[in-house]
């Protein structure tokens, strides 16, 4: 099953690259011109995201460099260890919604230091795999269309990150 899904993942993109233009050509669409025409918008869209992402990344980067992130983690750690959760896993829950690269680096380090088959490694991998970087997704998706007022979207994203974190911990404690 998993091997099959891997195959589907591997083939999905090449199949799209072949089948979409083939079908379009069959429907008499000038495929190359149409591709170039659509592709033109990509540059502007990417550039439009820059101010949003620069603003967000600056704040995140400062937050981590100042030691504020570490202080936050130290403050909540004892609470988690009470429930039998390896304390090292906690920072990942806080990092995950804020920084994709940072949380990936942290998860990799956890897997390395605790061993790939330890409980902490499994929890870390599950957390990393089951949620996305909320702040990044919000910044990029809304930034691309020029939305400045995100309304309740951030609350929903952070709430689901929190639920995902606790679900990942609970599921791993049950399964492994």
């Amino acid at each position: 099953m998993i091997a099959f899904l891997h195959q589907v993942s591997a083939w999905a993109v090449p199949m799209m690259i072949v089948l979409i233009p083939l079908y379009a050509a069959f429907r008499k669409v000038p495929v190359y011109e149409s591709f170039v025409d659509g592709a033109k918008e990509g540059f502007g869209t990417a550039v439009g995201i820059i101010p949003h992402l620069v603003g967000m990344m600056t704040a995140i980067s400062m937050f981590r460099a100042s030691g504020a992130m570490d202080a936050l983690v130290q403050a909540v750690r004892p609470l988690f260890e009470k429930f039998g959760v390896p304390g090292d896993v906690l920072p990942l829950g806080l990092l995950r919604p804020i920084t994709g690269a940072g949380s990936l680096a942290y998860a990799t380090d956890l897997i390395k230091t605790h061993g790939a088959d330890s409980l902490a490694a499994r929890i870390a991998a599950t957390i990393q795999g089951s949620t996305d970087t909320t702040l990044y997704v919000l910044t990029v998706y809304f930034g691309a269309v020029g939305i400045r007022n995100a309304r309740y979207a951030l609350k929903v994203g952070l709430f689901s990150d929190a639920v995902g974190f606790f679900a990942a911990v609970a599921v791993c404690l049950l399964l492994f």
Binding site: L5, H6, V8, S9, A12, M16, I20, P21, A24, F35, G38, A39, G42, T45, V47, I50, L53, V54, M57, T58, I60, S61, M62, A65, S66, A68, A71, I111, K112, A116, A121, R122, A125, T126, Q128, G129, S130, T131, D132, T134, V137, Y141, V145, I147, A150, R151, Y152, A153, K155, V156, G157, F159, S160, D161, V163, G164, A167, A168, V171, L175
Partner: protein, 207 residues
């Protein structure tokens, strides 16, 4: 809320920097972060250019609207204020499928394309609509069938069963997505901003 989090992070950072004596580091981090933001966007250029090109081909071939009509009955419940045969549904589906298959670099352009379609229905171009918030909620929770990156990393560090996290990841991601949809519903129902009105778009754009 984004305003407060952003401001809060910077104010707290400078306060901590003062206490910890890390003013220099924080200053460097500010510009380092800005640089990361630009680097990430530069990296997005090639991905967006490519996928938006391919998506235009699919659109002109009529594939997107076909797909939209096909899945609209399924996805409509989540996006009640999007008209039934709107092309946004086609992009929403491709975005969700790319997420499911773990094709991160395809998911983002499709999601942005879906946002652009939803933006066309938006009477207030700088404020998110409920449909946009729902799409965002689905993406922040991102249901993934195979967490390829994590499997690869565990393999690198000599795991005996690198794929045994597939089940736990799937369970956790389903719970997270369920929570996202429920929270989105809740906020949507108690949100007091005026609902979508066709025709209002013209007024706000003029001003």
């Amino acid at each position: 809320m984004v305003n407060w989090i952003w401001l809060g992070m910077m104010v707290i950072s400078v306060a901590f920097a003062a206490v910890n004596g890390r003013v220099q580091e924080v200053t460097e981090a500010a510009f380092g972060g800005a640089q990361t933001g630009v680097t990430v966007c530069i990296g997005l250029i090639s991905i967006l250019v490519f996928w938006l090109g391919l998506m235009r081909v699919a659109e002109q071939a009529g594939l997107v609207s076909k797909l939209a009509r096909l899945v609209a009955p399924l996805v409509r419940k989540l996006f009640p204020d999007v008209p039934a045969d709107h092309p946004a549904f086609g992009f929403i589906l491709t975005n969700m499928s790319a997420n499911l298959l773990g094709l991160g670099n395809a998911a983002t352009p499709m999601g942005i394309r879906a946002m652009q379609e939803l933006q066309k229905l938006n009477p207030n171009p700088d404020t998110a609509t409920p449909a946009m918030c729902t799409l965002l909620a689905l993406n922040t929770a991102s249901i993934t069938l195979i967490p390829t990156t994590m499997i690869a990393i565990r393999m690198n560090f000599g795991s005996a069963h690198p794929t045994d996290i597939v089940a736990s990841t799937l369970l956790a991601t389903i719970v997270a997505t369920g929570a996202a949809i429920a929270a989105d519903r809740w906020y949507r129902s108690r949100d007091r901003l005026p609902p979508l009105q066709a025709g209002k778009a013209a007024d706000t754009k003029g001003g």
